[in-house]
């Protein structure tokens, strides 16, 4: 397998959407190609960083403002 072909399959491989034969070919290629292994590892890390639940927390002040606005809207509808 050439690097260009491995790269084309990278996103399917990350999602677990490649068949067993292709998966095996990719894994053989990644073992012997440092560049493709780095691209695979760092692309996977890219997704993990953006998914990290500790990042971009919802501030309490923002949450409280949201719930106050929703409660006010709900109460206003109940009264009408």
């Amino acid at each position: 397998m050439k690097c260009k072909d491995a790269l084309q399959q990278l996103t399917g491989y990350l999602d677990g959407n490649v068949d067993e034969e292709l998966k095996h070919m990719l894994e053989v290629h990644l073992k012997c190609c440092h560049h493709c292994q780095v691209v695979y590892d760092t692309t996977k890390k890219t997704i993990e960083l953006y998914c990290d639940g500790k990042l971009f927390p919802l501030p309490n002040r923002v949450r409280e403002r949201l719930h106050e606005a929703l409660r006010a809207k709900w109460d206003a509808r109940s009264k009408s």
Binding site: L7, V39, T42, T46, L49, Y50, G53, L70, W74
Partner: protein, 200 residues
């Protein structure tokens, strides 16, 4: 519209939606509690601005409250909320920038080749080495170097966990276009982050 599989979570969600429609504020608040963090994060990632993200969060759930009776329950509640949030986010961006920048179809070719240029290993644990706010800034800057269409597809698929089918339907794209943009977005984000997170 497609029928998505009913998971255990979706069944609970359907009960909450039914109760909220019947007039239970507790049920509606439970739905808000479940998704408010995700919608706020989506807002930050789409707009890159905490004030816009806060407005987007508030307007999304107020609209959801107003239009709850219109929700037909043929998709997940979360997908419906995300659709409202995306529309709110795009409106925010259009107010701040030229409309050309914020169209989902921004004219960039899906077929062009993406060639990785940086093959350096990264520091093993950037999330432990860097301050949280510093890492958040790095991630947001990288995301905002991408055209709107690419980052929207990336955040919906990879971060919010929507399926290719759901993402395609939300953004009025073909499934092929979603896959192509996800591929390009992942590699371009990786390339941007490599500039900062590589060793040495």
């Amino acid at each position: 519209m497609a029928n998505f599989p009913q998971t255990g979570l979706a069944k609970d969600e359907a009960v909450l939606v039914a109760e909220a429609k019947a007039g239970s504020y507790d049920a509606f608040e439970d739905l808000v509690n479940r998704y408010e963090k995700k919608i706020y994060r989506l807002g930050l990632n789409l707009t890159g601005n905490p004030e816009d993200a806060e407005d987007m969060l508030q307007e999304t759930f107020l609209k959801a409250f107003e239009h709850l009776s219109d929700f037909r329950e043929d998709s997940r509640f979360y997908t419906w909320i995300v659709r409202i949030a995306i529309n709110q986010g795009l409106m925010k961006l259009r107010k701040r920038r030229s409309s050309k920048e914020v169209q989902i179809e921004d004219g960039e070719n899906d077929d062009g080749e993406v060639i990785p240029r940086d093959f350096a290993d990264w520091r093993p644990n950037p999330e432990q080495e860097l301050q949280r706010t510093e890492l958040e800034t790095i991630l947001q800057d990288a995301a905002h170097s991408l055209p709107m269409t690419f980052r929207t597809v990336f955040f919906l698929r990879d971060v919010e966990g929507l399926s290719t089918e759901e993402t395609a339907e939300l953004l009025n794209l073909s499934e092929g276009a979603v896959k192509a943009r996800l591929f390009r977005a992942r590699l371009r984000l990786r390339e941007e982050l490599s500039k900062i997170l590589k060793r040495g």
